[in-house]
Subunit: 453 residues, 4 copies
């Protein structure tokens, strides 16, 4: 028996953060269709081995092939469930009415979880496939924009403080590499969760032999669960939802980057702002990174679903049903939200307005401090100890820092006799060349996109 | 601007785990009504201080008093939002059309968050009031059943192993005390979150003076937020949702107790099983604790919402909107689920089938081992050291243990000369008296329910 | 029996993030001293009611008063525990050797948890008192610096984008108010967790009457636990650690604010940078907000401890010991880390270098856009509809925005005939007055600090 | 600069829950040795390409080969760090003193994170290898005991209620399969985290070419990080720690199973109880499943570390240091605790005392109800509809249920004319045969262990 009366036919989700294709996976319609497939394929397999009459199995299969169910009458099934208080029985009763006496062979020797757990595996597989697709689209956009800005200079920042030059393309290339990893993780998680169990009340195959499970698994594109115990073990699902949490965290990372870049004082990039859009009811001048802020919040939610999924693993003995209510929430909520978030992020990156001049301006604003390490190395190579070099550079760098970039490090160094006796003006000039920093960008891009890109 | 197109007017929740009264709090209807109250009360306050014309404020207030809004046309508001992409502006546009030129004074000097955050505070307060009510109902049922079984003997178990006798009423009394604490925590959390902010774009009251905030706060039963920064600080909400997580954990505790009691081998209590109910599609004999298993899962969800609520605290500068998507989920999901869970738990306790004879049978099955500590103490008082006493009791206890309760500890002790030389048969008999353990039950009940109960 | 051999006498913590006073609370020394107090006070109470000989109770108490334990020999106790595999018995054996035959009365009728749980309550109370102290110190510093910068103008930012002017004092005042709330929450959490249970194996007081519990509770500054079940119920601890998580989140908020302010492009404030400190081994010019970044990470840890604390609530029946290992971690880790973090944050705020000129410069960089809302309101009051006003302001604001603050909103408005026919140059000038935004700062400070501040 | 003064040389962990081999990985000694390897291998690679003098590189390498560091003087390094407030510089200063002037080439063009992050990768790889070893040992024990009890009948339970027969070997086989999956996940997580970055201040290889990274990676058994940004991206670590959380949850599952089996009323298996061990200071008869309860708590901790690891992903721009404090905790805490837990679980399973007679007795106690489904199917096959069969079986099953297993389902069915007219006494007898349930156990074992087992 399943707890809770009423219908399972409505979706759990925030409509604002959902897209139709993923939502459809979690619709009652889709779930019932998968249940029907499982029952039909199982009957087919039972017919083969003579567990039920072959002709009756054929009749059932034929009914499936001509789409016997037609439009699924969810209200009718709900009405039956209100009496039986059991969702699978309710569905089978409704579907059975469309068959003749062969209906008796449906669900033979099976237990509800055979249907429920295998169906959940199909839904999670469908969801994962859609999410992999989402990642592919994101990767396409990231690659295109990374290549576009492969050599657009921008300041790299550690601790929010200017460090050394990098390129905007490298920022996006890093995101690309991160989502390539997430894609691999998701494939592993999908394969982990895509198993089929038709093994009966405690998983012993007492009333239905393993060959039925194998047949249904193959027909659905799943692998047979090696040892089930009425249910498919929940470590698989824990791994799956934890993986979604990791992907969500990567979304947050890129969203946070964009939020930073759009800050008033930085303004190196902006979310696309459509004409006519209002940023604030009170302040007409506002153009806010609301999409990426929103993604930050959505990431928190998806991440939060990993914990209850892990708590679901330790079911009692062969199974208890505590996992079920959790999965009714996080099954749809985590996948729908992540699908929406990946789509939104793809749109943000696709249409991101990039300001290369502003990047250059910011890069220049520290009076050349970003080249300090290079000077340090040159001094070392000119014979000073690391400590002496560090002190020489730092005493000039601090003056530039305190001038808020009004002073020029290059000029100060030229004027510092202890420096100029070791490095000529020409040598110093050469140390302040931006291209120096970009000489290996090609290597990195080759690593990611191959030499052709 | 708020992210996401589409309507905010549909609910995020699993219908199976929701009840109408709590769901209504999170309906678009309720939210718009609260927005309207805030705008009207603010206009009223502005009229008082001459910030807007007094007669126009009076017109607006009169419109409110005669329920100008009537039935709220959510589709119309959605249609406006699809253009403006701003929910508060969309609502004000729709509502303003029902007014004359005084509509211009609506929202004067206010910012969207003044409305949104104050409205959320009202919704959370309404939700908390309902949850407090839920707890009151649960407390009533727990008290009634605790008194009913005040002196029903049952074995107390530590580590799942029989320890010493207690009463079933004491088990329920503990749950009662726990929910009294949860009630107090929830009141504190409600008061924490029930604040009103009408303080403008960065909380300086630049365009609307504090007196407006004070007026609106009083009219809505809130307290003014001492320092807001466009938004109400999210530590309040974090505290609120963390408190719901604690309450959910208490629900899990009592649910787990009942699940244990219903185990086949224990069977000291059972969830009510209605005639005609099917426990399993495969196994007709099953009567499963599915409601409390379900509560265990729901507790995992509510607990999981505490984390994103805490992550919401560190908004950037005066505010970013990352909290918003999180709250669209957890606002309804946490309160609706907890409301449902409290209601379900109340029903389970109310109708719980208790088997006192089975409790007695289980209590007796260890051959009197549960009295071992008392013998230990008596031997100590008869002059043995603690270590000697322990050894004497243990050597007899182990025999009983290994006989699986077929041997009687009392008889073995009587037959053990080292024991019998110190404690007579009568003295030993007296040590095996159950009432000895219950002499302070009254004291405990008095602590909880007062001397009259 | 406690799981795990070896010693409980060493601390779990990252030394880098701990301070001695809090660490001392979690030392084996302190724990044993509390155990000793519990045993002595319990014996004293038992002596009063004749449960044990009054003179023996007096002997024990006298031993306590002359500090019989002296220096606690942790290695000796460890050695005993290695044999008994039971920590309380090991301690009692060690301590008992210093007494005469009255040692037999120690722990009479008590169970280990009476000692362990009550001792944990004392430790958590001590820890909470220290944390409250920490918050008091932070509040002092926040108040001082808030008053110092009460009227230091700075730009308020929503979504990281310039919004309207505020003051740096208000930013700190908000943090002050937040920690006042955290202080109240912590007091409530401390009182929640500060209970005493001396109630025996399943909480029935079978072998030790409630009066002993009351005496020990009073002597230790605790309240008696109304219904214990061998253990003190863990909802209390869940509430406690969840509260620490909320406080940590507030620390993260202020830390994040400072990290933002120190960004190269913003640089309105900086963590104190001591002469001789090196920011980077590679880049001599770096001055990084490493303390507040560190606090951000520490907040993640403290927050993460809330979940296992909540999972601890649902112990099996009267108790299982799964909570114990969790508490061995989070007891010290959460309190020591939070203590360290509060101390570090206090130091950061205390010595924070504030750059008011830079704040003014940033405030001015948007060409006056921050005054846009005020113009909007003035146009509305001059007779335009809100929509018309919004459009007028926005078309000028967008030009300023696109000029990156090179154009002046004030000048553009003066030159816009549709604006100038409604607002004179003088009127427009007046709308760009910063003080307008600060007129209620006093009110807010009065709310927080009282009228005298 | 790294935050926090003091030493990084002491371990964060609860000694009670740690084992020496894993602890050693997290010792300062091991960390410094890895740092030294990274610096030496990098110098070697730089020598090859002429970035530093080849002979100096050779001198450094030779020093390494003769173990120049010898015993690492952690106190000396700490003392230097107290001045420099920078851990890598402190170490290099100490190590450099043992070299001649070639010391100047150490760390050339590198940044601290090159060393820190690569070293962390090595430590996590070492930890993962140890954990994989732990799992292998657990798998060995699980396999041995699964084969031992391959056909030991026991009742399978869903919802804590007797369902149908299974074997104790199948319970262990399920655990085996689960840890095979965990092993695969851990290998994937290890490979994910085992990358090397020697890419400079913002990952551009400005001052050190990719060939150095490749050389160091190969020497350490790591793969080069395709795009680093001063740091190795933290999605790798998030995946790693989330995987540990999943494994911990599987530990909790098996621990929970054993806790259930040891309950007084069930007592089908027990943790090994050594002679002389004391279960309770108060109750001499207790034998508690404290090891598995302890494992339950440890699982909560390891699971809880997944969240902060995920929050670490969204570092600001090219990096901030907020991840560092988190990793100082969870790096050792998660791996040490999981290592300990795997070892403890292996011990528990290895020495688990199994009571087959008690399993049989429990299996029989429901009066044959466990065979009810089989009767249901037989009736269906005898021509009744599923609904009719269900009703017939249920009405007899309920009588047995209410008799608490005193009545026999088989006898009642024989006496029920509506049953007996369809199934003869012999046919009914045959339906109550236990072996029927075990006919596919071989198949399942073959799936797992191969046909030879």
């Amino acid at each position: 028996m399943k707890p809770g009366g009423g219908s399972a036919s409505r979706l759990a989700m925030v409509p604002r953060y959902s897209r139709p294709e993923m939502s459809a996976i979690w619709s009652a319609e889709n779930r019932y269709r998968i249940w029907w497939q499982i029952e039909v394929f199982a009957a087919e397999a039972m017919g083969k081995i003579g567990m039920i009459p072959a002709e009756d199995a054929a009749t059932i299969r034929a009914a499936y092939d001509r789409d016997m169910l037609g439009k699924i009458d969810i209200d009718a099934i709900d009405a039956i469930e209100a009496v039986t208080k059991h969702d699978v029985i309710a569905f089978l009763t409704w579907a059975g009415e469309k068959l003749g006496p062969e209906r008796r062979w449906l669900h033979q020797g099976m237990t509800s979880s055979d249907v429920l757990d295998t169906a959940l595996a199909v839904q999670l597989k469908q969801a994962a496939d859609l999410l992999i697709d989402d990642i592919d689209k994101l990767l396409d956009v990231l690659k295109r924009r990374a290549l576009e800005h492969k050599l657009t200079p921008t300041i790299g920042r550690s601790h929010g403080i200017h460090a050394e030059p990098t390129t905007f393309g490298l920022k996006l290339a890093q995101a690309y590499a991160e989502f390539v990893r997430n894609r691999q993780r998701l494939i592993a998680a999908r394969d982990d969760v895509a198993t089929c169990a038709i093994s009966g009340a405690v998983g012993t195959f007492a009333n239905v032999p393993p060959s039925v499970e194998e047949h249904v698994a193959e027909a659905l594109g799943l692998t047979p669960e090696p040892v089930s115990t009425q249910v498919i073990p929940r470590d698989r699902h824990a791994h799956f939802f934890a993986t979604l949490g990791v992907i969500a965290s990567s979304i947050e990372r890129l969203a946070t980057e964009i939020r930073h870049l759009q800050r008033t004082e930085v303004l190196e990039a902006e979310e696309y702002f459509s004409p006519g859009q209002k940023g604030s009811s009170a302040m007409p001048h506002k153009r806010n990174p609301v999409l990426t802020e929103n993604l930050t919040g959505l990431a928190r939610m998806v991440r939060g679903y990993a914990l209850p999924a892990m708590e679901n693993v330790a079911l009692w003995h062969e199974r208890d049903i505590s996992h079920s209510s959790v999965e009714r929430f996080i099954g749809p909520d985590a996948t729908i939200t992540l699908d929406f978030a990946l789509g939104r992020l793809t749109g943000v990156v696709d249409k991101l307005i990039v300001y290369p001049e502003r990047m250059q301006k910011n890069l220049d604003r520290m009076g050349g401090l970003v080249h300090s390490q290079r000077v340090l190395l040159a001094l070392t190579q000119a014979g000073l100890s690391r400590e002496e070099s560090y002190a020489l550079v730092q005493r000039n760098a601090m003056k530039v820092w305190e001038s808020d970039g009004q002073l020029s490090l290059l000029e100060l160094l030229k004027a510092d006799p202890e420096v100029s006796q070791r490095l000529s003006a020409d040598e110093l000039n050469a140390l302040f060349n931006l291209d120096y920093h970009f000489k290996h960008v090609d290597t990195i891009f080759d690593r990611l996109f191959g030499p052709s890109a």
